[in-house]
């Protein structure tokens, strides 16, 4: 009897240490940064590194007066409103005509058992209506995403995890986030949790909280717009790991986890970054 009880308790303890509880994860994530940076308001994390670096914040405010992503928003709006060859358009593929919906992406498609990001949905819309898919890292897809994000500014991220397959995708994204990789043996968390605000070469590292809220971004280093998966690609290369394909399962799951961590924060994309 005692042995059975011990076994049952062991199983329960094991289960409690391995089964994901996304809401507990999110609260712990937010609390970590709130404790570490007590003078930074939670809602400020949508500003990326500018929430943690006051000098850079002042410069960024100047940039925001004439934001470099404005051209992309205009181009995205034009693309969004241009009909496909079959007479349909992007508005036919999305809830609310595709406007003001960024906060619901990525979502888990239970029928297909996969995470659907906004960029994936844009390309699926194109293919459904007989158009060729766009490249996933920059160019037209970044402009379309920028326009759709701009119509959602101020809306609050509300990523849901509807079922067990969704939870499994969330867990895979979480594992990717915390796993060290590459010749430098760094995880996403090593830079953007443990070393957030620390100097790395000429730059300071941003906090992971709020990361997805401002994408796509105009990045000065790129001299153009880029998607979140383009940034993932760059981060992986910087730690000397082979990147995963943009919009492949690994990066979509990573985006799912990361965006869930930012639930409750507002959409402020597109953004401008160094």
């Amino acid at each position: 009897m005692v042995r059975i009880l011990i076994t049952a308790m062991s199983v329960l303890l094991f289960a409690s240490s391995t089964v994901a509880d996304p809401e507990s994860d999110r609260k712990a994530f937010v609390n970590y940064f709130n404790k570490r940076f007590p003078n930074v308001a939670t809602e400020s994390y949508v500003n990326g590194i500018y929430a943690l670096d006051k000098d850079a914040y002042e410069q960024w405010l100047d940039i925001e007066e004439f934001p470099p992503y404005e051209i992309a928003i205009e181009e995205g709006e034009q693309l969004f409103n241009t009909r496909f060859a079959n007479g349909k358009g992007y508005a036919d593929c999305f809830d609310k005509g595709g406007l003001g919906i960024r906060q619901n992406y990525p979502y888990f498609d239970s029928a297909r058992k996969q995470v659907v990001t906004l960029e994936l949905a844009i390309n699926e819309c194109r293919e459904k209506h007989g158009e060729k898919p766009l490249g996933y890292k920059k160019g037209a897809i970044a402009s379309l995403s920028a326009y759709m994000a701009s119509t959602s500014r101020g809306n609050i991220f509300n990523i849901t995890i509807p079922d067990k397959p969704a939870l499994a995708a969330y867990e895979e994204g979480k594992q990717y986030f915390y796993s060290k990789r590459g010749q430098l043996n760094f995880s996403c968390a090593d830079c953007h949790v443990s070393n957030a605000s620390m100097q790395i070469r000429a730059d300071k590292l941003s906090a992971a909280l709020g990361h997805p809220t401002h994408f796509p971004v105009y990045r000065s280093k790129w001299g153009e717009m880029g998607t979140l998966h383009r940034r993932f690609d760059g981060c992986n290369k910087q730690v000397r790991a082979n990147p995963q394909p943009a919009q492949g399962e690994a990066y979509r799951n990573l985006e799912y986890f990361l965006t869930y961590m930012s639930n409750g924060l507002e959409v402020n994309g597109p953004g401008a970054r160094k």
Binding site: D25, A28, F29, Y32, K174, Q175, Y178, S179, K180, R181, G182, Q183, N185, S187, A189, D190, V193, S194, N236, K237, R240, A241, N242, P243, Q244, A250
Partner: protein, 100 residues
């Protein structure tokens, strides 16, 4: 005259045998490195420094520098093995740095 011709022929044969031996050694080292790289790639843990090393190894072999080619292939093999070991370690220990 005849002796000189024989010596030249022997040297040429020996040189060809040595080159073939070096090339076989390189091919073995390269194949082992490529297998190690692929093993890491299959678990999505390949380092982005490994394929360039393999390319350099091929370039060195093409230039006839088999010692260098074999050394580079050996480094690439080591990287593939380390990347795979990294993937196995992280599969067990990634939760150690999780925020709780």
């Amino acid at each position: 005259m005849l002796n000189r011709s024989i010596c030249t022929a022997v040297l040429l044969v020996l040189s060809a045998v040595a080159t073939a031996g070096d090339n076989a050694g390189f091919e073995a080292a390269y194949n082992a490195a490529e297998a190690a790289r692929k093993k890491a790639a299959d678990v999505e843990y390949e380092w982005n420094t490994t394929a360039p090393l393999l390319q350099k190894a091929q370039d060195a072999a093409a230039a006839g520098d088999y010692d260098k080619a074999i050394t580079l292939a050996g480094e690439a093999k080591k990287q593939g093995e380390l990347a795979y070991a990294q993937s196995r370690y992280e599969a067990k220990h990634w939760r150690d740095s999780e925020i709780r």
